[in-house]
């Protein structure tokens, strides 16, 4: 089922009655293709959960429309939309067993949709099989781990075969190892069922790793939509560049002077197609190459050996933050104790942004 959001806007009245309305979602227009897994990504309070609530019908939009396929569902109550919703804290009914929890949505069906007991039980077992919790059907939620509870929550959301599956921060309450496991699980379940799935997260790694498309939001506004790798490689503005990637991108004050990109006194790169101007320069941690004659001269602060690669923490006068972090292959030995380190820069890991608007500036490295 394809999901279309048209000029979706949600305002909340300000807590302080005299203040202006809070715009949680601002003019969100996007078509979610059928059968894809979409990650809504953004920092806390960016309106991603509100967007999810609007799609589920738990909240009504101030303006704009929502379509599931060709159906306009904007005015439909949640139960008639055919959505499954999974919560951060699972929201499993603690007094019911896993089986009863999964059966719950089916037992709500009335009239023509009403199912016989056998059919309900079979459907519940199918859903349990899909998320691989069959042996736990008679347990109470409190007797299960967080990851298992999350699977039950997904099974409960899937048992009615919703048109759209919505996951609100599904992994935030899990520990690191379970998070990895569960996110692959979500990917697998989504692939097997083919249900259009939208999930909300503030963890960019989570979103990048399993989404077909990611939507980066900030303060109610969509900044960029695209395939994870495209968004990572071509961020439209400084915010998106900073939000994606761990460790985060290193940002410098820089300037372009007659086709040469300057970071402080260091001439980093010859660029074509950019007028002389002040810019922000973002360089991904993996964009540095250890080079004795490299143009970028930094003072070493620390070298962190990670095994697979080495992380060099250093300082540069033009950097916005106190330290910059570069990740280099562990074969390239950094001499510990030397107070200076020089880098060359991979041009495609370097991004230019306007110093005022922070929008991306296209350029060609020479």
């Amino acid at each position: 089922m394809k999901v279309v959001l048209q000029h979706l806007t949600k305002r909340f009245p300000n807590r302080n009655k005299k203040g202006p309305d809070v715009i949680a979602v601002n003019d969100f227009t996007f078509e979610i293709p059928d059968g894809k897994l979409i990650g809504l990504l953004g920092p806390s309070g960016c309106g991603k959960s509100t967007t999810l609530n609007l799609i589920s019908g738990l909240e009504a939009p101030t303006s704009g429309q929502i379509f599931f396929g060709d159906d306009d569902v904007t005015k439909l109550p949640p139960e008639n939309r055919g959505v499954g919703l999974v919560f951060q804290n699972y929201a499993l009914y603690p007094h019911l067993t896993v089986r009863q929890n999964i059966l719950f949505p089916l037992q709500n069906l009335k009239g023509e949709q009403k199912l016989s007991k056998e059919v309900m039980l079979r459907k519940a077992e199918e859903a349990a099989r899909l998320v691989q919790i069959e042996p736990l059907l008679d347990r109470k939620p409190s007797e299960m781990s967080g990851g298992q509870q999350q699977r039950v929550a997904i099974a409960r959301a899937l048992v009615k075969m919703p048109r759209v599956l919505l996951l609100d921060e599904p992994l935030s309450n899990l520990d690191a190892r379970l998070r990895l496991q569960t996110r692959e699980e979500i990917r697998r379940i989504q692939r097997e069922t083919g249900i259009t799935t939208i999930f909300v997260t503030h963890d960019q790694e989570e979103a990048m790793s399993i989404s077909d498309l990611i939507v980066v939001m900030k303060e109610g506004v969509v900044h960029q939509i695209g395939k994870p790798q495209d968004v990572y490689d071509h961020p439209v503005n400084l915010f998106v560049a900073k939000f994606l990637g761990t460790p985060p991108i290193n940002v410098f004050h820089g300037s372009v002077r007659s086709g040469v990109l300057m970071l402080g006194d260091d001439a980093i790169l010859r660029v074509k197609g950019v007028d002389d101007r002040e810019v922000y320069v973002g360089i991904r941690p993996e964009g540095f190459i250890l080079d004795e004659n490299g143009p970028l001269c930094c003072r070493t602060r620390a070298v962190e050996v990670m095994g697979r690669d080495t992380s060099v923490v250093s300082a540069h006068p033009a950097a916005v933050s106190e330290t910059i972090r570069s990740i280099i292959p562990s074969e390239d030995r950094v001499e510990v104790g030397k107070d200076q380190v020089r880098f060359a820069v991979k041009p495609f890991k370097l991004h230019l942004f306007d110093a005022q608007t922070e929008e991306s500036i296209p350029f060609e490295a020479v």
């Binding site: 589920s56 738990l58 007094h95 709500n108």
Partner: protein
């Protein structure tokens, strides 16, 4: 270790001494009194040891009346007040405007003195030389016949008593239940809404189980409190409860000790222990049911 133990006992001493003198000793004393026949307080003498006091109390028509009154009061007021409190809490929980104002109104009886509340009920129900009381005026306005609620037939007095008790005990229950309802995670309701759960099903399958520990707490403490009823009766019917036929078990105990017909600590002790056994049994049953339910 030894040193520490001694220190621990030292720290506990004030509490233990206090509890010992004012709780453990009297409790044991009551038990002893209840088995001493014809115990005389002044001379501290008695004629024998046995079940005589219990036999006497259980044959005393005043005591039997008190037991009957207490049981009627308990059986009517505990379910009624808990149910009403639940309804009102649900109502309070689902409105936004004026919630604070309503909460204050519902909570007023809790902070109002028992005797002051009694006075209000007098105005409502008491027949005097000048007025039949407000309720009677209402009944007459609708063409009914005035009833003497305070000195009249038994059912009328019991009705006033139940109303009064329900009204007095409800605020605390509303307070507990509104906070219990507010503490239920909203995500459960969101999940239920997305699944198209009907209001009634949400109430019976989600809300009630979620707040059931609090409901059991209220029922158990409600039973105990209602069995100990006394001051509310005094507030309405005065101190001569036996004459009014509205005595309670605790009232009987008090009368046996200090009332006009008092001076019988043995009978009072026996009655108090009978009350204890009743309350204990009911509480154990309650706990067993609540364990099974949760």
């Amino acid at each position: 270790m030894e040193q520490n133990n001694r220190k621990a006992w030292l720290y506990l001493l004030p509490a233990i001494a206090f509890l010992g003198v004012f709780m453990v000793y009297p409790l044991v004393d009551v038990l002893v009194y209840s088995f001493e026949e014809r115990f005389n307080f002044a001379s501290q003498t008695y004629t024998g040891v046995g079940w005589y006091n219990y036999a006497h109390v259980l044959r005393d028509p005043y005591f039997l009346q008190a037991v009957k009154n207490t049981f009627i009061l308990v059986i009517i007021t505990v379910p009624l007040s808990t149910g009403l409190a639940l309804l009102i809490s649900l109502g309070l929980n689902s409105i936004k405007p004026l919630r604070q104002a309503y909460q204050t109104v519902f909570f007023l009886p809790y902070v109002t003195n028992t005797l002051a509340v009694g006075l209000v009920f007098m105005i409502l129900f008491k027949k005097t030389a000048y007025s039949d009381g407000m309720i009677n005026l209402l009944i007459e306005a609708f063409g009914g016949e005035a009833v003497d609620f305070i000195d009249g037939p038994y059912w009328a007095k019991m009705l006033v008593m139940c109303l009064y008790t329900v009204w007095v005990v409800m605020p605390f229950k509303i307070l507990i239940l509104t906070s219990a309802l507010a503490s239920v995670n909203q995500d459960y309701y969101k999940a239920a809404r997305v699944d198209g759960t009907s209001k009634w099903r949400i109430f019976t399958r989600i809300t009630l189980p979620m707040i059931s520990p609090m409901i059991f707490y209220l029922v158990i403490t409600g039973f105990i409190g209602a069995f100990k009823a006394y001051s509310d009766e005094v507030a309405i019917f005065g101190t001569d409860l036996n004459v009014a036929g509205m005595n309670t078990i605790v009232g009987y105990v008090y009368d046996m000790l200090y009332g006009n017909s008092g001076g019988y600590p043995s009978y009072a002790s026996a009655a108090a222990l009978i009350l204890f056994v009743i309350v204990f049994t009911i509480t154990v049953i309650n706990l067993m049911i609540s364990k099974k339910a949760t």
